[in-house]
């Protein structure tokens, strides 16, 4: 989108990724004028073809019975805190306390987080270290690709540790309680003033902005259906022209079917999360690694900007797992080998067997 400027090229010799047009840190360019920011979960970035599309609205449909959407939201926000551009709204009395539950980056990265002018040497050293670090945790199939952008693009988070308090006291993290507003208009103004900070300033602003809204249509907010849908539409229109991503989670069960569809249409990227029961024997027989799963993530729609070709994923349903109980990983569902005695269980329809399109080969 932004044309390369010779001036920034001269001044900014320290950046290692100088070949690309000057993008904001934490932003990865994609094909067709697209740009991505990280969702805070490496696997999700990979599944969505690079991350959350800049200028898009991501919606997560909550599971009414389990808080799995918080896993996604926390990682997204933690990445935003690292990048220091975040607006967070939640239907809670004191939303800032939620920030205390955000996961901290994996230890090795901690000192690297502090943004600022770096020497060339320093930058190279970082990228080397991260490439090495990365190999340790993930397969080698992607190591070459992430070598460059891992430094800025995404961070690994440790779900067991909470984010450093000092990070949270920085400015550019706005927290609002949805309970304070009797109508949704103040929230809209807040979003628009938050986003206008980005467009007004120049490159020095820093990063792509993130807006995270938790449980927008929760009943305690008492907004009318039309108000909310019109807010989402306005937000979508505002976001489209900004270097920002909004993630909205909403409890789909409280919406009427037709409004639910409207919400879904307004989403550029639509995800849903679902918990899995511990004692679902059918499912446990059907899928390998069922014990490790904490939930399922379903990708309904992937953002489609600047192109008319739909993104067809190899699989739509992924299992949410905690790797070493600290980092969130997404895996394709793997069908368990069917043994002769339990052949009948193959035919029984597990809740997600219809959407399981993955191969049975585990790599």
């Amino acid at each position: 989108m932004r044309a390369g400027r010779p001036s920034s090229f001269c001044r900014n010799q320290s950046t290692v990724i100088a070949s690309a047009p000057p993008l904001l840190p934490g932003v990865k360019p994609g094909a067709g004028g697209k740009a991505f920011i990280s969702s805070g979960i490496r696997d999700l970035d990979r599944i969505l073809g690079g991350g959350f599309l800049l200028g898009s609205v991501v919606m997560v449909m909550e599971d009414a019975e389990a808080p799995h959407h918080l896993l996604l939201l926390r990682n997204f926000m933690a990445q935003g805190v690292v990048h220091r551009q975040l607006l967070f709204a939640a239907p809670a009395e004191e939303p800032r306390t939620f920030l205390g539950t955000l996961p901290a980056p994996v230890v090795a990265f901690k000192e690297d987080r502090q943004r600022g002018p770096r020497s060339d040497h320093d930058g190279q050293e970082q990228s080397l270290r991260i490439a090495w670090q990365y190999k340790k945790y993930f397969g080698e199939q992607q190591a070459s690709e992430t070598y460059k952008d891992a430094k800025e693009f995404s961070t690994d988070f440790d779900l067991r540790k909470s984010l450093d308090r000092r990070m949270l006291s920085l400015q550019n993290i706005d927290c609002v309680s949805l309970l304070k507003f009797s109508t949704i208009a103040p929230l809209r103004e807040l979003c628009s003033s938050f986003l206008s900070k980005l467009t007004g300033n120049d490159v020095s602003v820093g990063c792509a902005a993130r807006i995270a809204i938790l449980s927008l249509c929760a009943p305690q907010c008492r907004y009318s259906d039309w108000d909310m849908i019109s807010f989402v539409r306005t937000l979508r229109a505002m976001i489209r022209s900004c270097k920002a991503v909004a993630v909205i989670t909403f409890p789909s069960s409280v919406l009427s079917p037709s409004f639910l569809k409207r919400w879904q249409h307004l989403a550029d990227t639509l995800l849903s999360v679902r918990s899995v029961a511990d004692d679902d024997e059918n499912l446990a027989k059907l899928l390998t690694g069922y014990q490790d799963m904490v939930g399922l993530l379903h990708v309904h729609k992937v953002a489609q900007v600047n192109t008319q070709v739909p993104v067809i994923l190899e699989a739509n349903t992924f299992s949410l797992k905690l790797h070493r109980r600290r980092s969130l990983v997404l895996e394709r569902l793997n069908q368990a080998p069917v043994d002769g005695s339990s052949g009948t269980s193959y035919g029984t329809s597990g809740p997600c067997s219809a959407s399981t399109k993955s191969s049975s080969i585990d790599f």
Partner: protein, 245 residues
Amino acid sequence: MNQTSNLLDEALGLGDPCCAGALSPERIVLIEDCVETSGAFVLHHLVKRALSPVGGVVLFLALAHPFTHYDRILKKLGCNLSIQKDNNRLYFLDMLGIEFPDEMQWDAIEDGLVKMYSKIQGAIEGCSSSDQSCGHISIVIDDLSILEIAARGSVNHDCSLVILNHEDIYQDKEAPKLLSHLLYLAHFIVKAEPLVTGLAVDVHGQLTILKKGNIQNNIYTERARNFHFQVKENGVELFLPGSRC
């Protein structure tokens, strides 16, 4: 043009060389899609047809995406929107940021709509008076669900109307009035749906094109045609179910 996209043209009555380019006048095409399958490609295709050298003027009411989005897509289809805009063949109304006060002030909403309608009307009158040879006008609305009410009434000119709407939001009985009006008025209804078996890499969904019956020479014709489609960057490939190996 490859043979496959002709299937779409033919089903919409565009294959005819005499009505070259655009839809025949006073036609309404209603494109319906759903969350799983976007029908936007039909709209892109029709815009491209309408802007082809023999076509007419397009009035594009964009509610869903900014201009750059359409520009990029249409460029890949071989049609430069920016140039068409300069040539006064495309009137692009960017309604993305259209703002109605949220307090449910009905008169304010009405004002907004009237304003928009007069904008459309002004554009239509402007181009039909300025240039006699401009051919006929197509109004394209993407997408209507964002703007529930504005579409009706814009058909009293000699123009064709292409509307993209989402079908599945009208599942219950809440707001069926607008849709039933549209369905009644529409001459073509194009429905994009996912395959029942799920999405595949090479078949992106199915398209049902329903041409409203009319009595011609005392023969009643109503035609529904069903295709599978695969959307590509430079066009869409339509084929009859099962005809592709």
